[in-house]
Amino acid sequence: MNPLENFRMAFESLWGNKLRSFLALLGIVIGVFAVTAMISLGQMATAGITQDLEAIAGRSIFVQPNFNEGQDFSTAPIREEDILALQTLPASVIPQLFTSAQYEARPGTRRSIQLQGTPGDLPRLDPTNKLARGRYFSQAEARGGLAVAVLSDRAARDLFPGREAVGQVARLFYPNGARLELTVVGVLQPPGGLFGGLGAAATVYVPNELIWNTSPTARKGQYDFVVLSLKKGADARQVTRQVQRIFEGRYGKGKYQIASTESFQDTLRSITLILQALLGAIAGLSLLVGGIGIMNIMLVSVTERTREIGLRKALGATSSQIRQQFLIEAVVLTLVGGLLGVVLAAGLLLLITATVPFFKVFILNPATVLLALAVSALVGLFFGVWPAARAAALDPIEALRYE
């Protein structure tokens, strides 16, 4: 007897008992639904986080002096020659300075604001910085240390509430009271996504050269922070190792902190993976319960169909053919349940992508679907073994006598 015949028979007998078959596979439907939805939601969350992270940080490597070593800030600066060495790597090198300044919010009230030194043409070097209005100061302006500024969206609103900032003069003070008058030439777009809040600081971008010339703490030719914005196709891990080699070769181990967006993503990915595994395991429990439900129904079905089994044996079915018949029934039952579960999960995921902004892309991997179906088939096989063995072991004479 060929296996297809068995599948046909299984469908016939399950179809003949529609309501019961449906109730029997409900547990599997819920289990597969839960597992599939969990896995896919995890993948969708990872994708969402990764995308948001890339939107604010691109694919970048960050270098800054290591404060944990107990050294003074100024003892381990980043020097011009380090920058020159970094420029051999496949990345735009963006050396920066950080300091803080104050502005007069109302007459008599001063507020702090972040002052950040950058090279000119920042949006070209690092595309995660996008201009909203005006322009970024040029490289020539930057080299000349001109008193020009570009404001973050937040800084524009803080410094010039209700007014267009571009074209205005921003008046700032260093902590020691030194004044700084800057012509605002542009305003940046606010960062979006899940991490938008992180980047929403009030920052005034000015040429590095200007900070060197005016700040009481900054020293010419020394930087606080370097961002390497990776070129397309550059391997983040490899470039990170090269950056490490440059700094360790010059200053020894542990003096500088070197991190990449890739490593943040790795951390995020491993966290979501652990969460996924946990939730998946809980969802897997419902599959177990579903499997026990299947076994229960199959046992009832074997008892109910004692006469059918006896008759089939009298007509020439072997015990192994009977066993096969019931095993395949169980597997067909759980497979149909698994299929329904996957369809339901797909529906839920589509709904979530359509309604929750954080989940931007719908992900349902063929591998996930295959896994779900394979697991449902295995559940049927596993929990069908005992009922099928009972059916196969029935003595045809007893079975035909059975009332």
Binding site: M1, N2, E5, M9, E12, S13, G16, R307, E308, G310, L311, R312, K313, A314, L315, G316, A317, T318, S319, S320, Q321, P396, I397, L400
Partner: protein, 231 residues
């Protein structure tokens, strides 16, 4: 001529209970019997005399505790469960008192059922089943479910299911036991016709007038052949 059924000293002992409280029932106590091709044999005897047990052994649904049995000249002893099933499928057709049709299947599919275990393609199975149903006069009831048929019609479907196997041996255990006298006559007429076509038939019955239609009566008493074993 090789007998279809040849038995020597066939014994069947049923044991129930366990330990010192084991009860032994000797359903058959040394049966000698031969049945030749084309014979129509009625198996008679009081209730509990072992008729059904003998029938099950003849049809390979059960095996003797002791004694030898040759079916179509081949010894049955030592055959595996799967081999017994195959021989049942190819050489033995059963007709039961309670019909035993699968309620969800149409008459046609019920009749085609034994052929599933021969690995025949569906179209071929249905073709043969249709022919068998026509042979028992139910060519117009192919798509009826058992619940839509009378008792006599159900038994004719069951006979068609046995005939579709083209068996060497047709075994019927009180096939008219659940039927009124008119349907009984119909069924017995059908068996007469099958006998005339040369089929070998063994029929268990209580009723003398049913037995009278057979060629030979084998009488069982207390698990032994009292008369008609013709060895």
């Amino acid at each position: 001529m090789t007998p279809v059924v040849q038995m020597r000293g066939v014994t069947k002992v049923y044991r129930s209970g366990s330990g010192s409280r084991t009860v032994e029932v000797r359903a058959l106590a040394g049966v000698d019997l031969s049945i030749y091709p084309g014979e129509y044999v009625a198996l008679m005897g009081p209730s509990g005399s072992g008729k059904s047990t003998l029938m099950h052994i003849i049809g390979l649904l059960d095996t003797p505790t002791e004694g030898e049995y040759w079916l179509g000249g081949e010894p049955v002893r030592g055959l595996s469960e799967a081999q017994l099933a195959r021989i049942r499928n190819q050489r033995v057709g059963f007709v039961f008192q309670a019909f035993f049709l699968l309620p969800r299947l149409t008459a046609l599919h019920n009749v085609a059922l034994p052929l599933v275990y021969r690995g025949l393609p569906l179209a071929e199975r249905l073709k043969r089943a249709k022919a068998a149903l026509e042979a028992v006069g139910l060519g117009d009831r192919l798509d009826h479910l058992p619940s839509e048929l009378s008792g006599g019609q159900k038994q004719r479907v069951a006979i068609a299911r046995a005939l579709v196997q083209e068996p060497d041996l047709l075994l019927a255990d009180e096939p008219t036991g659940n039927l009124d006298s008119r349907s009984s006559d119909e069924i017995l007429g059908l068996f007469d016709a099958l006998h005339r076509q040369g089929k070998t038939i063994v029929m268990v019955t209580h009723e003398p007038d049913v037995g009278a239609r057979a060629q030979r009566i084998v009488r069982l008493r207390d698990g032994r052949v009292a008369d008609g074993g013709m060895v």
